[in-house]
């Protein structure tokens, strides 16, 4: 009979766990399912802000933007999430083209300039971000390396094995970099540049934030990454410096959207309202260099001088072709 004891105990345990599971689900409404490419830490704060303000709970799955996009494409028309909170502008344009998005006109976004949102309310740009170099000043000093000032400087052989770049196949940060280079130099010159740069690249990471983190921890001297990833590390006290390459940087609008046929549309709308609200933008501005709502200053000022006239539509239209060429060139 004792042997049955274990059986019985296991069954009871199973029931307890099952009960916990269903309790959690019933205690409030089902959490809203969200995809994001934002960093885990940033998302944690944003989600907390949302919950305090609206009481809505969300379940977040973080993926790099390229990864998220291929998931969305393969899942269509049955998306595994109800909304996207943080994604590349160019993917919003593609998603709109493919009819993946639900429109909603949110009142809190009315004062946001028209070029940051879709006229049909299918996507909203909540912040924008740009490429940036993270430089580890300790390593530069100890190895006697010059501080790079421009994209061109990165080709210098002295940086061989010291540069970390994300993989544009998975990382939106890296794709922004690649298309920025194309737009600055022209496509042909751009490929030549990338081929030379490849000689100096120590490794390609999956996530666009990883290079900043690795540089901060002293693994490599130079990381090609995005703005806030660098500023956060600087603020945390690492020997890291942000470098704006002199040729200028491309920027990308970071967007949110509701997926077509989302289950709990009312709540998703509430979330969209919150992100566009004063409180939502206030919270976002703590984590982003620039937010789109007028009257809110992000973590960096006077940014315009560094930005090139980046063409997101070109990026959206040419992504597949550019990536195919990237693969044949660098995955061989």
């Amino acid at each position: 009979m004792k042997k049955f004891g274990i059986n019985a105990l296991l069954i009871v345990l199973a029931m307890v766990i099952a009960a916990c599971g269903s309790n959690n689900a019933n205690s409030s409404q089902e959490p809203i399912k969200v995809y994001t490419h934002n960093d885990s830490e940033e998302m944690q704060d944003l989600v907390k802000g949302l919950k305090e303000e609206t009481g809505i709970e969300v379940d977040v799955l973080r993926m790099s933007s390229g990864e998220a996009w291929s998931r969305i494409e393969s899942e269509s028309p049955n998306f595994g999430a109800e909304m996207q909170w943080g994604m590349l502008h160019s993917f919003a344009l593609k998603a709109e083209q493919n009819d993946f998005l639900e429109s909603y006109h949110s009142p809190t976004w009315e004062d946001v300039p028209d070029n940051f949102k879709d006229p049909d309310g299918k996507w909203y740009g909540w912040s924008y971000w740009f490429n940036l170099l993270a430089i580890n000043t300790d390593i530069l000093e100890s190895k006697g390396l010059d501080k790079p000032e421009s994209w061109e400087d990165l080709l210098d052989p002295q940086y061989e094995g010291e540069i970390v770049l994300p993989d544009p196949g998975t990382s939106g940060t890296a794709f922004l970099f690649v298309s920025t280079i194309m737009q600055i130099m022209g496509e042909e010159e751009g490929w030549k540049y990338l081929e030379k740069l490849d000689q100096n690249v120590a490794q390609y990471t999956k996530s666009g934030s990883a290079p900043a983190q690795m540089v901060a921890q002293g693994e490599y001297a130079i990381g090609i990454t995005w703005d806030q990833a660098v500023f956060d590390r600087v603020e945390e006290g690492y020997p890291v410096e942000a470098v704006f390459p002199t040729e200028g940087v491309g920027y990308d609008l970071d967007v949110i959207w509701m997926f077509k046929d989302a289950e709990n549309q009312d709540q998703v709308k509430e979330i969209i309202d919150y992100i566009g609200s004063e409180n939502g933008m206030e919270e976002a501005s703590k984590h982003r260099s620039m937010v789109t709502k007028p009257g809110f200053v992000g973590t960096v000022e006077n940014i315009d001088q560094y930005l090139i006239d980046y063409d997101a539509v070109w990026a959206a239209e040419n992504r597949e072709r550019v990536m195919e060429e990237w693969r044949t060139k660098f995955s061989n």
């Binding site: 004792k2 105990l9 599971g21 885990s40 393969s74 595994g80 120590a202």
Partner: protein
């Protein structure tokens, strides 16, 4: 993990007669059919889907273009070569270390030996890629050790790349090899060793000419298993590979980064073929080992080690065990300090991570039910297969056990292919994760069930029948209680491995059903070593806690697990 089952006498009865006999007990027949169908849907179909996809079937006509592309692209060839080379080196090292550590542990009764044994098995409770993280903390370009080497000797090196992957694999897969080798060495007939020594052979000679040849089957089995596991390793190349191509991680990146499932399927086939070969070899050619020897009965006392032999073996073992411990210490330190090696101030902030805790909760639920199903169904299957005439039994058993051998990446891709559309629509559900875990581990339950059934004499059941109990009552009141220890053993093992497994479920997680191991990998990809260490630490503590709980249960109830 314990692949390979006892070969039983071939059934010669005609198929129809078996079929009729099966239906004489309809409940068992229905159970069998449900089991068979589930195995086909959840193990066979996904693997076939990958196979078909690699030949372009499903979206187009039969084509070998994908394979041509594979062989024409140096990137893929490199990825194959890297995977094979790393797997070979890791296997050689694991086997060698397994023999050394096993010799030490089985030939010493001391407290130290018991402690070493515990530490040697410890990597089982951590996600396999944890050691990549530790290696980066220790030996990265700015690692804790690297810093000193650099300032003292001016040495500069980078652990990223091929050797990083190899080291991480050696530690991660060591317990698998070790368990098998140790149990064979433990059960070696000691009289042969004694005879050898009585005849004047020294200890080296005895070890090389008697001990190791006697343990041959265990060693070969360990080597083969570690080889396929290392070949299919997915997470270490992602973290420490430094962008070097490896088969399993490339297959994953092809799916998630490029939507190129055909090519991923081709890479998957290169993972399946070696697993299949090794599996067939183990099942049909290495018959003398089974789960019973693995769980280890202590034989007579092995001759204690002496002299130089003892010194060499003790030294190697101690260094290696110290290294494993160091890896775990790094994870614990990494979890509790701001940024290890740079800012060593104590902090708990890495633990304040709601998403992390949610994913841990999911992991426990999914692993619990997955293991419950794996052990329960597996053992039911073991009973049916051992006692009932089932047509096509051999094949079904083969397919069930093959579930253990299929590389996770392949299974994951297969599940994406099959369950992402009609008629199933299971993607994004906890159910799919549970099913995936359950059917990847169901072979564990089956092995445990079959070997237990072989120990139970049929006379017990016959007595029950003679006393008037029907077949179901007999099953419920006689057989089931006897199977409980096998169930618990299967459950514990399946639960433990499910908690830390990643390569398959990473394709299947969704918002709200993210699992701890995949979440930790994601943190590691963002290079958030502190948070990743903290979550790993909690995961390890939970798994250890569960094992401890079951050990207590085992003692209290007197059931040997």
């Amino acid at each position: 993990m314990e692949i390979g089952s006892q070969q039983r006498s071939l059934q010669t009865r005609p198929f129809l007669r078996e079929w009729k006999r099966l239906w004489s007990e309809p409940l068992f027949a229905i159970a069998t059919i449900i089991l068979a169908l589930s195995i086909i849907i959840f193990i066979v179909a996904p693997v076939f889907a990958v196979l078909l996809k690699s030949f372009g079937i499903g979206t187009g006509d039969f084509t070998v273009a994908n394979y041509e592309k594979f062989f024409q692209t140096s990137y893929y060839i490199n990825s194959l070569l890297n995977s094979v080379k790393a797997a070979l080196i890791s296997t050689a090292a694991v086997v060698l270390l397994s023999v050394v550590v096993s010799l030490y542990v089985t030939r010493s009764q001391s407290f130290v030996a018991k402690t070493y044994r515990g530490i040697a098995l410890l990597p089982l409770v951590a996600p396999p890629f944890i050691f990549s993280l530790s290696l980066i903390i220790l030996l990265g370009r700015n690692g804790v050790v690297t810093q000193y080497l650099n300032s003292w000797f001016g040495w500069e090196f980078s652990i990223y790349g091929f050797w990083g992957v190899v080291f991480a694999q050696i530690i991660g897969y060591f317990p698998v090899g070790y368990m098998l080798v140790e149990s064979t060495l433990r059960t070696t007939n000691t009289s042969l060793e004694q005879a050898s020594q009585d005849l004047g052979a020294n200890q080296w000679k005895t070890i090389f000419n008697i001990t190791i040849p006697l343990a041959k089957s265990g060693i070969i089995k360990a080597g083969l298993l570690v080889f396929v596991m290392a070949l299919a390793d997915f997470s270490n190349p992602m973290i420490i590979g430094g962008g070097l191509p490896f088969l399993a991680s490339d297959a994953y990146l092809l799916v998630v980064g490029q939507q190129n499932i055909e090519m991923a399927a081709v890479l998957g086939v290169f993972l399946i073929v070696p697993s299949l070969l090794v599996f067939i070899f183990q099942t049909y050619f290495l018959k003398d080992t089974n789960l019973e020897t693995i769980s280890g009965e202590s034989g007579g006392n092995n001759a204690p080690l002496k002299g130089t032999v003892k010194r060499v073996i003790t030294t190697v073992t101690t260094i290696f065990i110290a290294f494993i411990s160091l890896m775990f210490i790094m994870v614990v330190l990494g979890a509790f300090v701001k940024i290890i090696g740079i800012n060593n101030a104590f902090t708990l902030e890495h633990f304040s991570n709601q998403t992390g805790w949610d994913s841990l909760y999911n992991s426990i639920v999914v692993s619990f039910f997955g293991a419950l199903l794996a052990a329960g169904l597996g053992i039911l299957q073991g009973f049916l297969f051992a006692r009932k005439a089932i047509p096509g039994k051999k094949l079904l058993e083969f397919l069930t056990l093959f579930g253990l051998a299929v590389p996770g990446t392949v299974m994951g891709i297969g599940y994406v292919l099959i369950f992402n559309g009609p008629p199933f629509f299971l993607t994004g559900t906890v159910m799919l994760l549970v099913l995936n875990m359950a059917f990847r581990k169901i072979g564990v339950g089956l092995e445990a069930g079959i070997s237990k059934m072989h120990q139970i004499d049929t006379s017990m059941e016959e007595a029950s029948q003679d006393l008037g109990a029907g077949p179901y009552r007999t099953f419920w009141s006689v057989v089931l209680p006897l199977l409980t220890p096998a169930f618990v053993a299967g459950f514990v093992y399946a639960f433990m491995t499910a908690m830390v497994s990643i390569s398959s479920v990473i394709f299947l997680v969704s918002p709200g059903t993210n699992l701890a191991a995949t979440y930790i990998l994601n943190l590691a990809e963002q290079a958030r070593i502190g948070m990743a260490s903290a979550m790993s630490f909690i995961l390890i503590v939970i798994v250890l806690g569960c094992i401890g709980l079951l050990k207590i249960l085992e003692k209290k109830s007197g059931v040997k697990v």
